[in-house]
């Protein structure tokens, strides 16, 4: 076991920020938080599934947005700095209000709308559109990309990588009856044209998605559709 110094950004300036915790290998950041909560019950953070599926435990570890449940603590590191996600209002300690993120998500109509003029069908395994769709399907809406994006996090007029990635997965589907409306939605102010190719989202996604590529794809489709 090794002693690890942990600093946590607290919403209450009076609250304890510095801790030391004994860690062995492997230890996830979430394990550290749970251990610390036993010494300071007022420490607030969020988690649910513990297996990188729900996307609720996202925080910044040494500045980088990550899933606390899937981020191993490096033994021998000179300490750990834990902060709430940037670009979202802090509710308490490491808990943020994800409303701006979900509002953007909702605004692209992130649900499948079957085409009225076609029979329901399953996409064949070798359907060419599968590559584009599946490249973005793993999103767990954890908000890491939102925080990593200099535009979405800084000013909420940009829909952000996650919402646009979701729109791409739907627009890529030939069975989607709302493709035109969706392309119109993402072409508006705050849509695909706001992306500056910073690629913060693609570097941060804990599921290995490349939302920047989804945005570029969506941009090409919008232009192709005369938007």
């Amino acid at each position: 076991m090794t002693a690890l110094a942990v600093e946590i950004e607290r919403s209450d300036s009076e609250a304890r920020r510095h801790f030391t915790v004994e860690v062995g290998e492997p230890t996830m950041v979430l394990d550290v938080l749970l251990a610390l909560q036993r010494t300071d019950a007022s420490l607030a953070f969020r988690y649910s599934c513990r297996v990188a599926m729900c996307g609720t435990c996202t925080i910044r570890v040494d500045g980088r947005p990550v899933l606390a449940c899937r981020t191993p603590v490096l033994l021998g590191a000179d300490g750990l700095l834990l902060e709430p996600l940037a670009g979202l209002p802090v509710v308490r300690d490491l808990i943020v209000d994800t409303t701006p993120f979900s509002t953007a998500w909702r605004s692209v109509e992130p649900w499948f709308t079957p085409r009225a003029d076609a029979e329901p069908r399953v996409l064949a395994a070798d359907d060419p559109s599968r590559e584009a769709i599946e490249s973005g399907l793993d999103c767990i809406s954890c908000g890491a990309c939102w925080t990593a994006c200099d535009l979405a996090g800084a000013e909420h007029r940009f829909l952000g990588p996650a919402a646009l990635n979701r729109a791409m997965t739907l627009a890529a589907d030939a069975r989607d009856g709302a493709r035109d409306r969706r392309l119109r939605l993402v072409s508006q102010e705050g849509g695909v044209t706001r992306c500056h190719y910073i690629h913060g989202c693609s570097g941060a996604c804990p599921k290995g998605i490349d939302p920047a590529a989804s945005i570029r794809r969506l941009r090409r489709w919008s232009i192709g559709a005369g938007r």
Partner: protein, 164 residues
């Protein structure tokens, strides 16, 4: 130094200061609320940035070099326009371009132009073609390598007269 040369040097100094301030502001903004990979001073944090962050830093560098090139272009338009007033004044100011400090500045400017160009072409390519994340990073490495090679070669040519 003639009065016109003093004005030129003052304008160039102000311009450089502005570019440095803007770059510092951009880097700071990228460090304060955006992903970094380590604790410590900003220098340490930039130094330890992982491959995941290279495109973020390319964006910062693209902005800084863009502002620098544009700012110098504005000044250059004025000093070239002097020719319409009087060829003698033009020669007077342009004599400065041959001095050692100005040649060093020209080298830096050339590096900035090269990076902005190559990275800009990379971004255009990303826009029109279906390019994977790993390839996008590799293309950035190519842009940096081309900048380094062409910039060094040009610097040799630019500095040769004063070094010799």
């Amino acid at each position: 130094m003639s009065a016109l040369q003093v004005v030129f040097v003052a304008a160039l100094t102000a311009l450089l200061l502005g570019v440095v301030l803007f770059s510092a502001f951009t880097v700071r903004a990228a460090l304060v609320v955006r992903p970094t990979t380590a604790r410590g001073s900003w220098l340490v944090r930039i130094g330890r940035a992982s491959n995941r962050d290279v495109q973020r830093w390319a964006f910062v560098a693209h902005r800084a070099t863009g502002v620098a090139v544009f700012a110098f272009l504005l000044l250059h338009v004025f000093d070239v326009a002097l020719f319409t007033l009087s060829p003698a004044r033009f020669d007077d100011v342009h004599e400065l371009y041959g001095t050692a400090p100005m040649r060093v500045f020209e080298c830096l400017l050339f590096f900035a132009i090269l990076f902005h160009t190559f990275n800009g072409l990379r971004l255009v390519l990303l826009d029109v073609a279906e390019i994977r994340l790993s390839t996008a990073r590799r293309l950035l490495h190519v842009a940096v390598a081309l900048t380094a090679v062409a910039g060094t070669a040009a610097s040799v040519v630019i500095l040769k007269p004063v070094v010799a």
